[in-house]
Amino acid sequence: MDALKQNDVHIASSNGEVKRLVVGGEVAIGLVDTDDAEEARASGAHIVTVYPDQDGMGTLLMPTSLVLMRGAPHADAGRRLIDCLLGPDVEQRLAEHGAHIPLRPGVPVPEGVRPAADIRAMHVDYSALAARMREMEPWLRQWVGL
């Protein structure tokens, strides 16, 4: 991370800003989500979407998560909402309108987005990652200058 910073990397405040920096030609490459890359491509920008490390550790695929809080006052309604949001219809709409990568095979993806089956995904232990992130947060804030 320190070497990355010394390499004159630009630390942006959001994916949207990364998109603007790349589309505007201020930086050569930027790390974003598929929806930002797809928005840039659809707007006519001359960009290419690259899924990094396909020959190595694989690309980080971050799931969009739903959480039902323990002791939630309307748990049944929450479960019904979760079931609805995890349904194939919503998954297709998220893919069409937000360039999300569907997990169900057979759900069509927009042009420019790869199906999950075609992506070599990085193996991630999210529990370990969450614990490590909590430890790293003070250092990360220092790294970005806050």
Binding site: S13, G16, R141, L146
Partner: protein, 507 residues
């Protein structure tokens, strides 16, 4: 009762902050955090940015205020109104307009303009221009408050320029100094403009610990302490050098003041003034230009209920502030017991960085027992009233101080109680001031971002919050469209309010 409300809204959050700080994990490494060279430099940089912004605002506002107050510049009234208008908008919205103008892909953008904009210089220029109307307006009021006989005596022996420099401006210094203090305080607090222009500031370090994944309230509580110290120093300066003069200086004299003719220089000076006025309006025109491709349907979708929420919160805030203004403003104008203390508390709440008051309010209200406030629109109103009640107090006090106290004393001698005196004498006599107070508080609440973004309940965001959160990822045309909606909303409220006030003045 009003005093109790203020103590709850302002003093209690500061006490809660201290209690939280003492009891939180943040204390464990507070010394390391506060002693960090990196954060010390960030604080120093933020204060330097604020000082440079204040200097620029003074450079623009003092000469402009003097010209508009005392010369025959063409269209003075309209120039002042249009110059002041951007002040009533969230500053980051104006910065968004400058981004559309001078960013790399902007209407007039070049790599050089983008490099200059996305830098401390850009922050200083944008904020200096946005806040300069504070200096312009207070300079104008300060000059109009000068005893005309002093000016007339000076004019016998000196030309107008020398009279302005050596007599009038020095006499108007309390108003100008108050303006400088306000600009400095607002600049230190500012979160949206530096964030948009990619300049890191100290309030961002506090915000980063209250938002998203890196939630560390203990550290946030520790970090606001230097900001609280800055606020106390500013309050000390205000009390020491300004005190009551800062609100009494807002009184305009009834005697007619001579207008100084500019002669052959009038077209050039007028052109210069209007160029400066339009400089403040160009970013708004850029927003409108960029918004032209946004479809109405998409705009309404993205906007949701935020304009209604903004108006609701602003109107409620205005009503509470106006009510507090009537009660406490009258006390301040009449020099009643504890009024100076409450006034100082109000000034402190206004000039302290939003992060301090905001974090204190979170510490006070983020509990199960107060969930009915914290999780609702009431929390926004509470925060905005705490921040802006001094606007109501000072505005109403300025009006009351111009009326004789004998009327109220006579009513008291005749047996009229407090409520009867207020409802039958003070409020009717100063009804226009009450309306102006309500309007001013409403506009301040409408434009606020730095406070409400710290604790807005999910689903209750106001339009500035929606624009701020969308700025990162939203479509540009929609973003600019939402900004234009906010501009139109503010212009509408000011126009309707101004018309009502004007019609009222004529009856």
């Amino acid at each position: 009762m009003a005093a109790v409300c203020l103590l709850l809204l302002v003093l209690l959050p500061l006490v809660s902050l201290l209690v939280q700080w003492l009891g939180s994990a943040g204390l464990a490494h507070a010394g390391e955090l506060l002693g960090s060279a990196r954060l010390g430099l960030l604080l120093g940089k933020t204060l330097a940015l604020a000082m440079a912004t204040t200097a620029l605002a003074l450079l623009i506002g003092v000469p402009l205020g003097a010209l508009l107050a005392r010369t025959d510049v063409a269209g003075r009234g309209l120039a002042l109104g249009l110059h002041a208008f951007p002040l009533f908008l969230p500053p980051f919205l104006v910065a968004l307009g400058w981004f559309q103008l001078l960013g790399r892909g902007g209407i007039w953008g070049t790599p050089l303009s983008a490099r200059l904009l996305f830098a401390p210089l850009g922050v200083i220029a944008v904020l200096g221009l946005v806040f300069s109307p504070i200096v312009t307006g207070l300079t104008l009021l300060g000059l109009r408050g000068v005893d005309p006989s002093l000016e007339q005596a000076a004019r016998v022996v000196a030309p107008p320029g020398r009279v302005m420099r050596r007599v009038l401006l020095p006499l108007a210094w309390p108003a100008i100094a108050f303006a400088a203090l306000l600009v400095f305080a607002l600049s230190v607090s500012e979160l949206g403009v530096p964030a948009l222009l990619r300049v890191q500031t100290y309030p961002a370090a506090v915000f980063a610990r209250l938002a998203g994944q890196t939630y560390a309230p203990g550290e946030a509580f520790a970090l606001v302490l230097p900001l609280l110290a800055v606020a106390l120093v500013l309050l000390g300066l205000e009390r020491r050098f300004l005190g009551a003069r800062s609100f009494s200086s807002l009184k305009a004299r009834g005697a007619s003041l001579t207008t100084w003719p500019l002669g052959r220089a009038r077209p050039w000076v007028s052109a210069g003034v209007w160029c400066l006025v339009f400089l403040g309006l160009y970013p708004l025109l850029a927003l409108a230009w960029r918004a032209r491709t946004a479809s109405l349907g998409a705009l309404l979708d993205w906007m949701g209920a935020t304009p209604g929420q903004s108006l609701r919160v602003a109107a409620l805030t205005g009503t509470v502030v106006a009510t507090l203004g009537v009660v406490l403003g009258t006390r301040l104008a009449r020099g009643r017991r504890f009024s100076a203390f409450l006034d100082a508390l109000g000034v402190l709440a206004f000039i302290m960085p939003s992060a301090v008051l905001g974090v204190g309010l979170v510490a006070t209200f983020h509990h199960r027992a107060t969930h009915f406030i914290y999780a609702t629109t009431a929390m926004l109103v509470v925060g905005l009233v705490a921040r802006y009640f001094i606007v109501g107090v000072r505005t109403f006090a300025s009006s009351v101080s111009q009326s004789p106290v004998e009327l109220e004393q006579a009513a008291a001698l005749a047996g009229a109680g407090y409520l009867r005196r207020m409802s039958r004498i003070v409020v009717p006599m100063h009804a226009r001031a009450l309306f102006a107070t309500w309007l001013l508080a409403m506009v301040f609440a409408l434009r606020d971002l730095d406070m409400v973004v710290l604790f807005y309940p999910p689903g209750r965001e106001t339009l500035p919050i929606r624009i701020f959160t969308l700025e990162a990822n939203g479509p540009v045309a929609i973003l600019c469209g939402l900004a234009c909606v906010h501009v139109v909303l503010t212009a509408g409220i000011l126009a309707i309010g101004g018309l009502v006030y004007w019609r009222w003045s004529r009856t």
